[in-house]
Amino acid sequence: MEIIKTINLEKTYHDNGVPVHAVRGISMTVHAGDFLVIAGPSGSGKTTLLNLIGALDLPTAGSISFEGEELSSMSRRELSAFRLHKLGFIFQAYNLIPVLTAIENIEFTMMLLGISEEERNERSLNIMEDLRIAELADKRPNEMSGGQQQRVAVARAIVTNPSIVLADEPTANLDTATGSSLLDLMEKMNKERNITFIFSSHDPQVIERGRRLFVLRDGRIEQEVSR
């Protein structure tokens, strides 16, 4: 099933008046259940593409649709509902809410979704068990290591059972072993829950694990690999 489809997507920034073509005409299709990596050298447009898909940024031209619905036709309110219900984000810098504990960070989006307290508890305990972060429940982000924070961020992103998780360089700040175990977790979530993952990364171990791979260069798809 097609979940994301982009057609001739373009994004041009203006850096002090100088146009920067970060994405120049990307057409791609993402299927439900994909475990997809967008690779490419620094500045090739990976983050930009991911942000466009996540509706965090608006394209200059072209279109993106989610399950057939055009993102550009949605209001800011609908977009925020779309992100809440359908997406999960994992950032390179973890970006947990600093004033909330691990478990509160994980429950936050479930509260926004109006999920009952019992169910929230059950789900967050399960996922923390799964990600082996149960003992971190009452810690604040600044009391955790980078790897621990990123696990909490993964938990936060997938606990609502989103259709897609967008992960921008999730392993960039982690050592290889930590990164690898995090990838194991995400593969497991992908298989068990059929959550689509889209990564942007130049970390070889991420690229290796991608079942589909897009290599970007200068804002274009240079190569597409499926395995």
Binding site: D57, S80, R83, N95, P98, V99
Partner: protein, 405 residues
């Protein structure tokens, strides 16, 4: 619920800044409570003094007396008036008076004053002259006694026991004169008052101007000052056109104007406090939004709607406002309570206050309207001050916010 938790924690991230805001709100509230209670105290005292020294709640005269206060304008039939008064349930006490203008002379000098003939016992139930006596005694009953204000005594250069001569126009158009002996000197809240009023027994005044047993004024206290307008109407209806019934509102309109002006100047004062507060909140909340731009971007990314982000920031400001208001209210009441029982002695400025008519010791008075207004308005103002920062927060595109470093 969760927004509330988030907002509560957010305000304690920068404790120093939040404490500064809370303290400034608290100081604003405390200042407002103190100025409001103090000014209400002054206003009430001004009223009480005016009413209590001479004016009373209502006065009845022959129609036209107020415009032309001559002896010829005596009350045509005092018995009719007294009967009407006794039938009016809202009237507590009354006292009969003769009001004269005349000259009071000592051996050295003389002064133009109001000479009021009173029934000593009855008058003491209405006004405070008896309790304002600072030396000598109140009128004891013999017709040629007089009590005068301290300032008048000084001006005339007379003392207790001295004799003074009173001159005033008589009923038949001559000038009457009589000798009175000073039995008492009073000092009221107002130095002006003490300069121009002297009290003699009713018979003494009647004899001076040949009034027989007629009177020119009846002063009245009602059971409730606030319903004096109704009592006035009722009496006027009973008495008809031949008489004029005046309430203190008619008799001291200047004070009402003063009070009005005073209250308007207080509004300016509150507005200044309010504006300072709003600007403080705008500044604080803007700083706190700018410090958290990236985090706000993340909140947007994980699906917090603009409305919720907006409310979160308003709740933060409101919490600061409520905490500050609570603290300020407690501080204000703690300062107010002892002041209300002991009063604030402003004798350092007493001359000014004395002619203002409040007395030198002010007892603040807590009125619900003034204080409640502050208690509701100030938190409201903190929310007002947070509107712009909150608007700035939601105007961000999530990506620009996340990328912001």
């Amino acid at each position: 619920m969760m927004l509330l938790k988030l907002a509560q924690r957010n305000i304690w991230r920068n404790k120093r800044r939040s404490v500064i805001v809370i303290v400034s709100v608290a100081v604003g509230i405390t200042a407002t409570i103190l100025t409001d209670t103090l000014s209400m105290g002054m206003i009430f005292q001004m009223f009480d003094n005016q009413i209590g020294s001479h004016i009373a709640h209502m006065q009845i005269h022959r129609n036209g007396f107020r415009d032309n206060m001559v002896v010829q304008n005596f009350i045509p039939d005092a018995e009719i008036v007294e009967r009407a008064i006794k039938e009016e349930p809202s009237i507590a006490v009354y006292s009969r008076r003769v009001v004269l203008f005349g000259l009071l002379s000592s051996a050295n000098t003389s002064a133009g004053i109001s000479i009021i003939g009173i029934e000593p016992t009855q008058e003491a139930k209405l006004t405070k002259i008896k309790s304002s006596i600072v030396s000598g005694s109140y009128l004891t009953g013999s017709p040629n006694e007089i009590v005068i204000g301290r300032n008048l005594a000084e001006k005339l250069g007379v003392e207790l026991g001295d004799k003074v001569v009173a001159l005033s126009a008589t009923l038949d158009g001559h000038v009457g004169s009589d000798v009175f002996r000073i039995v008492g000197v009073f000092e009221t809240f107002s130095s002006e008052f003490d300069k121009v009023y002297a009290y003699v027994p009713l018979e003494g005044a009647q004899k001076l101007v040949g009034l027989g047993n007629r009177i020119s004024e009846i002063a009245i206290l009602t059971t409730d000052r606030n319903t004096v307008g109704m009592s006035k109407e009722a009496l006027q209806d009973r008495l008809g056109d031949e008489y004029e019934v005046l309430s203190y509102v008619d008799l001291i309109p200047l004070i009402l104007v003063q009070i009005d002006m005073y209250q308007q100047s207080m509004i300016v004062f509150y507005a200044i406090i309010g504006i300072a507060l709003i600007l403080g909140i705008v500044n604080t909340m803007l700083m706190s939004v700018f410090e958290r731009i990236q985090e706000i971007g993340v909140l947007m990314a994980i699906g917090l709607s603009n409305a919720k982000i907006f409310s979160m920031i308003l709740i933060e400001a409101l919490s600061l406002g409520i905490l500050g208001t609570g603290a300020g209210f407690v501080a204000g009441v703690l300062i107010y309570l002892p002041l209300a029982s002991y009063g604030i002695d402003l004798s350092a400025f007493s001359e000014g206050l004395k002619s203002f008519g409040t007395g030198t010791v002010i007892y603040p008075v807590f009125t619900a309207t003034g204080v409640l207004n502050a208690l509701f308005l100030i938190p409201f103002m903190t929310v007002l001050g947070a509107l712009y920062p909150a608007y700035r927060a939601i105007r961000l595109q999530p990506i620009n916010a996340i990328r912001f470093v």
